[in-house]
């Protein structure tokens, strides 16, 4: 929600936790309390954390599948077009469309297409590369890549209130709540 013009703009509130279990529990409780615009940060993938934030199904698998199909089909038809249409070579009357010989390259290009799609799709869906993000302003946040776990409630959350949300986060057993400047 828009802030008053005199107040410094706030991106949200960041609460620090010490164990992954505390973070997952806090995320679930914040969700239950009605907060929706949230994110959680952990130094390694924490099982159940994305689900606690009710993260929708990832689209990475379908993008990967599409990349694989695209790679495989273009690999096969490239070979067919080259060997049978654009540059036909009659060698002892052997068939031009010699499909078994086209399988290895088709296979390799299927894998290549799928792998590129998986990585680029993952990065694109994650919005990376993104060198700047407001959470980096919080000095303690460097520990998110070491041994600390953070829950962020964004200021644009309809239920967000600078004081009430801070009290709520403290009540979740946080070791400290910091404001994230915009």
């Amino acid at each position: 929600m828009p802030k008053g013009p005199t107040k410094p703009a706030t991106y949200g509130l960041l609460a620090e936790f010490v164990t992954p279990a505390e973070l997952t529990a806090a995320a679930k409780r914040a969700r239950a309390a009605g907060y929706r615009r949230m994110d959680a940060y952990a130094p390694f993938p924490v099982e159940g954390l994305a689900e606690a934030l009710e993260f929708r199904r990832s689209r990475v698998p379908s993008i990967t599948l599409a990349g694989g199909i695209l790679g495989g089909l273009s690999g096969y038809f490239m070979q067919y077009w080259i060997a049978a249409i654009n540059y036909p070579e009659n060698i002892g009357g052997r068939p031009l469309h010699s499909w078994p010989a086209f399988i290895p390259v088709t296979f390799e290009l299927t894998i290549l297409g799928a792998a590129l799609a998986a990585v680029l799709g993952m990065l694109a869906l994650n919005g990376l590369p993104m060198p700047y993000h407001p959470v980096f302003h919080v000095p303690r946040f460097v520990l998110a890549s070491r041994d600390r776990f953070f829950l962020l409630i964004e200021a644009r959350d309809p239920k967000f209130d600078r004081q009430a949300t801070e009290r709520f986060l403290e009540s979740l057993g946080s070791r400290g709540v910091s404001e994230v400047p915009c």
Binding site: P43, P45, F55, V60, V105, P131
Partner: protein, 462 residues
């Protein structure tokens, strides 16, 4: 975290030695691994090793320069042995490059926790080995500067690659393998690069690692997609790693040369690749863990497991040798029979017997737990297997070509000093890249170690 008693039993049936030393927390694994890159001063040992490796790289550049100037005539190749060292070394390096992806992908899918502390540098090893491997066919082209003719692109000459040739399949297999291995390695590195960015003590380091980390901040949604992509990559890399050496073996098996034209080649090449790859991982892991004090992370259990994989794949390779000989006899084909006989007692017989000793006899010592638990002996055995696998490719390439169907076209092959210079030079390139890697990037996956700590705690607590 209860630090008393033996922790982390990996299976319920019987307790196994831990894959992580006791007493580690998220903070200690992070600090220990990142300090190797960020705060540890460059040691004289590193400098000396890098200097030696780099002087071999200079030798490589010199030899390549002379090759470009004069041509492949400086090598020992001629008719009938047209392949020689270039292809021997190509297959050897590609084989070494198989363990990285195998450890990363297949062991990840099989949920083998012990892979965590060795996967990162095994992947790096894969990349560098494949880079060395790819040099050889290119230099062997005769006019390496026209290497791009290998790729299908609409050229003004109107010609295209011949897609019915295994040599063209090889181009696609090796370049796909390199690309996918690079992606796999880099994706795994992103969270660790973020760790280095956050712990960097100078602005330059923060900017460089920060650019490479692409703004990774460990968001739960990001981790979720990251894990999905990582698992998918592992699933894709698994058939890929099998396909690469299969296609390499097609280079031989599709030809009609006796000693090459054999259906056992694909599985036997793949097993040999994994065998040599694990040997190279051991060769590198043993000095690394000693030099950087990583015994808590690369434990005896890791070394022992790798020794077991080496033993198992070595037995498959031994079966391959046996079947080659059996089929040479059982097929009743006089050329096949002669080639087998010529390998054993012909002019290259000593190489054959040396390979049998290195690849079949010596590794049998790994049946004994005392041998697997003895680090210096394991190191020597891994070197022996590396040598044996090189000899295997030498025997396959040279003995089959030097005496094929017509005695009038028989000949002998011996490598020249330029062959050796380029071979030794690629070993230098491989080592130089590894030295740079362990200096500038985390050689053990930090975020996966934190995950391992978390699981260890969960098990200890329950």
């Amino acid at each position: 975290m209860g630090a008393d008693g033996p922790r982390l039993p990996m299976t319920n049936e019987r307790p196994q030695p831990p894959v992580l030393g006791p007493g580690h927390t998220f903070a200690t694994v992070t600090d220990k691994i990142s300090s190797i890159v960020l705060t540890r001063p460059t040691t004289p040992g590193w400098l000396a090793g890098f200097a030696l490796a780099f002087s071999l790289v200079m030798l490589l550049f010199y030899a390549i320069g002379y090759l470009l100037l004069v041509g492949v005539g400086i090598w020992g190749i001629n008719i009938p042995v047209g392949w020689g060292f270039a292809i021997v070394n190509f297959v050897w390096w590609i084989g070494i490059g198989h363990a990285g992806t195998l450890i990363s992908a297949i062991l990840l899918l099989l949920n083998q926790k012990w892979r965590t502390s060795i996967n990162r540098f095994a992947e790096a090893m894969t990349l560098f080995a494949v880079a060395c491997a790819a040099l050889f066919p290119l230099l062997h082209l005769g006019r390496p500067w026209l290497f791009y003719w290998l790729f299908p692109y609409p050229s003004t000459m109107g010609v295209w690659p011949q897609f019915r040739s295994p040599l063209v399949w090889d181009v696609f297999a090796v370049s796909t393998y390199f690309t996918v291995s690079l992606l796999f390695w880099f994706v795994g590195l992103i969270p660790d690069l973020a760790t280095l960015r956050d712990r960097a003590d100078t602005r330059a380091k923060r900017i460089i690692y920060g650019m490479l980390a692409m703004g990774w901040r460990g968001s739960a949604m990001h981790w979720h997609r990251f894990q999905t992509a990582y698992l998918l990559l592992a699933g894709l890399a698994t058939p890929l790693v099998v396909s690469v050496h299969t296609v390499v073996s097609f280079d031989f098996a599709v030809g009609i040369i006796p000693g090459w034209h054999s259906t056992i080649f694909p599985p036997y090449f793949v097993a040999g690749a994994i065998y040599s790859g694990f040997a190279m991982v051991l060769t590198l892991a043993i000095p690394l863990r000693a030099a950087y004090g990583l015994e808590d992370f690369i434990t005896m259990r890791h070394l022992e497991n790798m020794a077991k994989v080496m033993l198992a794949t070595g037995l498959i390779v031994a079966y391959g040798y046996g079947m080659e000989l059996f089929m040479a006899w059982y097929s009743g084909n006089i050329y096949e029979g002669f080639t087998a006989w010529n390998r054993i007692v012909g002019p290259y017989g000593p190489a054959y017997w040396a390979l049998i000793f290195c690849n079949v006899v010596a590794p049998q010592a790994l049946w004994f737990k005392r041998v697997r638990a003895n680090v210096p002996v394991l190191f020597v055995l891994s070197l022996i297997v590396n040598l044996g696998m090189w000899l295997e490719r030498y025997v396959i390439v040279i003995t089959s070509l030097h005496r094929d169907f017509l005695p009038s076209s028989w000949g002998m092959y011996s490598a020249t000093r330029w062959d050796w210079a380029i071979y030794v030079g690629t070993i230098g390139l491989f080592l130089a890249l590894l030295f740079l890697f362990i200096r500038f990037l985390p050689m053990i996956s930090i975020f996966e170690m934190r995950e391992l700590v978390s699981e260890t705690k969960a098990r200890g607590g329950s």
